[in-house]
């Protein structure tokens, strides 16, 4: 692990990027930013941990919990909202078996997240599975999308 961190640090020093770019690189590498990463970089760069946590908790895109292999994003902007984004969220939570404030399945297969507005209002409501945007969704389609994807993934393993 130390080796990976050193590599990230070297790159960061070379590019002279800001804290956000560094955090992005950590998250791209590990899927999330763990507390021990912050401690390590804080010592190396002599920047207080509080500055790291300040930035991490400010931006919704940074996460401190492990992320699933696939990400399903439900757009919750205004246009999607009035066309039933809440129901899509409920359907997705049910299909993924998420309870309470969980956003990731226990097997780390899926993470469910909300987006404020992704600017695809004219084809609302939308969900994004990994990079693919799916338009004019309804709860049944969301369930099918998740179940179908799980099945495909499963077949892929065979």
């Amino acid at each position: 692990m130390e080796k990976v961190l050193v590599k990230i640090l070297d790159q960061h020093r070379k590019e002279k990027g800001g804290l956000i770019a560094l955090l992005q690189r950590i998250q791209d590498t590990f899927g999330h930013i763990a507390e021990e990463h912050v401690t390590w970089f804080s010592r190396q760069l002599d920047i207080p941990e509080s500055r790291f946590f300040g930035v991490i908790t400010f931006y919704p895109k940074f996460r401190m919990r492990p992320v699933g292999k696939n990400t399903l994003t439900v757009c919750c902007g205004a246009a999607c909202h009035i066309k039933g984004a809440d129901k899509l969220l409920d359907a997705a939570r049910e299909a993924l078996g998420l309870s309470g404030d969980e956003d990731t399945t226990r097997d780390l297969a899926f993470t469910l997240e909300k987006a404020t507005c992704i600017g695809a209002c004219n084809i609302a409501p939308v969900v994004i599975l990994n990079k693919q945007v799916h338009s004019s969704m309804d709860p049944v389609k969301v369930t099918k999308l998740i179940k179908g994807y799980e099945r495909e993934e499963f077949l892929g393993y065979l």
């Binding site: 600017g119 209002c121 338009s135």
Partner: protein, 587 residues
């Protein structure tokens, strides 16, 4: 052979590819090459991916241009492709039943597409396509035949105002930055939600606009601030930048005049506050995106403390047009104080959802009923929300109002980045307002007290009302909060956050009062205020409601009127939607 080539244009914007555009395009190339169509008919068949042309509800849209006449097919799926190739490409007979209807024409008729025009015509991944439609001629003209001051004068003459937030005159902003002596200067392009179609459909125009802007203010470096989540926009812009570098439109010594300029990405975050220009700069500098106190304004001391021009992608896309055709021509479009056109994403309960570009000053009626084709399912229009979450809610009584900066400001709204959501009779204005406040509260950066605490308190009070616990005193508190926030918040987010409440309370006071006095939600949205019951005369005892009820709150047996147990009912509305005889009452 080339003169008689057949062109096939497949829409591959976000919507087009969500509808399966990639596969449609692949099927075209597959069928054309497999059956050797080109040799059979002795013509070249050129397939091309194009950006969004706006009419997204009928994607995938495909244009076939044969012998100079264009046929547009709607809702094309991969299995339809073979017949189009056989009948139309080979046989020359368009398939009438698959082509677009009158609504496609009426959708486009009232629009004035100067910025969006090339989207849907050119291949966004080919700089040659852009150059072929006179791309970079404006930049060349500006940089070889005009001084920076001439360029700024031309932009001032055009009357172009920022297409993002407050609508400040673009030329004036540039002029201030131009006068600064500190170097290097920066130019930032914010690619927001509504702009992504421009980035996907015609990315070179944004780059050309930035280049002209950089020349005018003498900036050495440009930043494209965009969310990584907009994968396609990022890819297209990245390709566009690379191609522009290859052609020498970016890099050292552009047009041989000794001017250097280059653009790099700064990956934005999911934060709504980053639409505020100083917050955006904080974010580029790697800190929490919290707005700065102004003055100094960014044009004087912006990014890294240097003079900075920041505009959004739509503003920059207008620049090559203004330089190319002249500021005077541009200022002939629009109204006295608002020039040019504006792009909106028309969404919500209108029949034709889509991306539209209208001349400033067009009445709402023409937008909703002309371009939008009226309300879905022949329902009643209730209100229009313009300008994103912090815009105002406009009632039907103002349908004939012309849409421009002044009129919107008068009715308590903003042009904003160009969101337009249409509500019908089934939407509850109080619930909608609560939704916007919830979003704004979540996105408030927390730096200044009026916004941080104000949005929280407003949300609590609005939730109290939609939960059926509201009191009339709450409305007065809301009004007071709104007033304080609007006048004392640090940035535009806090100042405009009360807009949805102020405007909706002005125009839909009765609806608020019904929620409070009668504990009723007229639109039947606020779950705490509605009850479901069975209309005994209509109930045919079919049992479908009993089957769909997730909490087993419905009792009944064959040939007996069913009954809903109000105690158990969670008001999910499943029975209401399932009943074929409209026997479930919502009150």
């Amino acid at each position: 052979m080339n003169d008689h080539a057949i062109e096939i244009k497949v829409c591959l914007g976000t919507s087009g590819s969500a509808a399966g555009g990639e596969e449609v395009l692949r099927m075209f190339t597959h069928h054309i090459s497999e059956k050797n169509i080109e040799a059979t008919i002795g013509r070249r068949c050129a397939t091309k991916k194009v950006g969004c042309r706006g009419f997204c509800s009928k994607d995938v849209l495909v244009d076939v241009i044969r012998d100079g006449s264009k046929t547009t097919y709607q809702s094309v799926t991969p299995i339809m492709v073979e017949r189009i190739v056989q009948d139309h490409l080979v046989g020359g007979d368009p398939i009438a039943e698959w082509t677009v209807r009158e609504e496609y024409a009426s959708f486009h008729e009232k629009q004035y597409k100067i910025v969006l025009g090339p989207c849907g015509e050119i291949d966004p991944e080919s700089i040659d396509d852009y150059i072929a439609m006179q791309g970079y001629l404006a930049a060349k003209k500006a940089m070889t035949r005009m001084t920076p001051d001439d360029v700024i004068d031309e932009v001032v003459r055009s009357g172009l105002r920022g297409r993002g937030g407050s609508g400040f005159l673009t030329g004036e902003k540039w002029k201030v930055c131009r006068r600064q002596d500190a170097h290097p200067k920066y130019i930032i392009c914010n690619v927001g939600e509504v702009n992504r179609s421009l980035a996907e459909g015609n990315p070179q125009a944004i780059i050309e606009g930035m280049l002209i802007g950089a020349y005018a203010v003498c900036a050495a470096k440009g930043y494209l601030y965009i969310r990584e989540r907009y994968h396609r926009s990022v890819e297209r812009l990245r390709t566009a930048i690379e191609q522009a570098r290859e052609k020498g439109f970016l890099g050292p010594n552009i047009f041989g005049i000794g001017f250097d300029f280059d653009i790099e990405f700064s990956f934005g975050t999911e934060a709504f506050i980053c639409g505020e220009e100083t917050a955006l700069m904080e974010s580029i500098e790697g800190r929490r995106a919290m707005p700065r106190v102004r003055p100094p304004f960014p044009a004087v001391a912006g990014l890294w403390g240097r003079p900075t021009v920041i505009n959004n992608a739509e503003t920059f896309s207008n620049i090559p047009i203004i330089i190319g055709k002249g500021g005077e021509w541009y200022s002939s479009i629009g109204t006295a104080e608002s020039k040019g056109t504006k792009i909106f994403t028309l969404s919500g309960k209108v029949r034709n959802n889509g991306l539209v570009e209208i001349p400033m000053g067009m009445p709402f009626r023409d937008i909703v009923y002309g371009i939008g084709g009226g309300i879905e399912g022949d329902k009643e229009l209730k209100a229009i929300q313009v300008g994103g979450p912090s815009g105002g809610i406009i009632p039907t009584s103002m349908l004939d109002l012309g849409l421009d900066y002044e009129n919107l400001a008068k009715v308590g709204s903003i042009v904003g980045s160009g969101g337009m959501v249409v509500f019908d009779e089934d939407d509850c204005i109080v619930a909608v307002t609560r939704f916007y406040l919830e979003l704004l509260q979540r996105e408030s950066c927390g730096k200044c007290t009026p916004c941080r605490i104000g949005t929280k308190r407003m949300l609590e009070l609005l939730t109290k009302i939609t939960d059926g616990k509201g009191e009339e005193e709450d409305l007065r508190t809301l009004e007071r909060l709104a007033g304080v926030m609007a006048s004392t918040s640090l940035c535009g987010l806090g100042r405009s956050a009360p807009n949805p409440f102020i405007t909706s309370f002005n125009h839909f006071r009765d609806e608020y009062l019904t929620h409070i006095r009668d504990r009723k939600c007229p639109a039947g949205v606020c779950t705490a205020l509605i009850t479901f019951s069975v209309n005994e005369e209509r109930c045919k005892a079919c049992g479908i409601c009993k089957r769909v009820c997730p909490v087993k709150a419905i009792a009944g047996e064959p040939k007996k009127v069913h009954v809903i147990d109000a105690e158990r009912c969670i008001k999910c509305g499943a029975c209401f939607r399932a009943c074929k005889f409209k026997a479930i009452k919502k009150a």
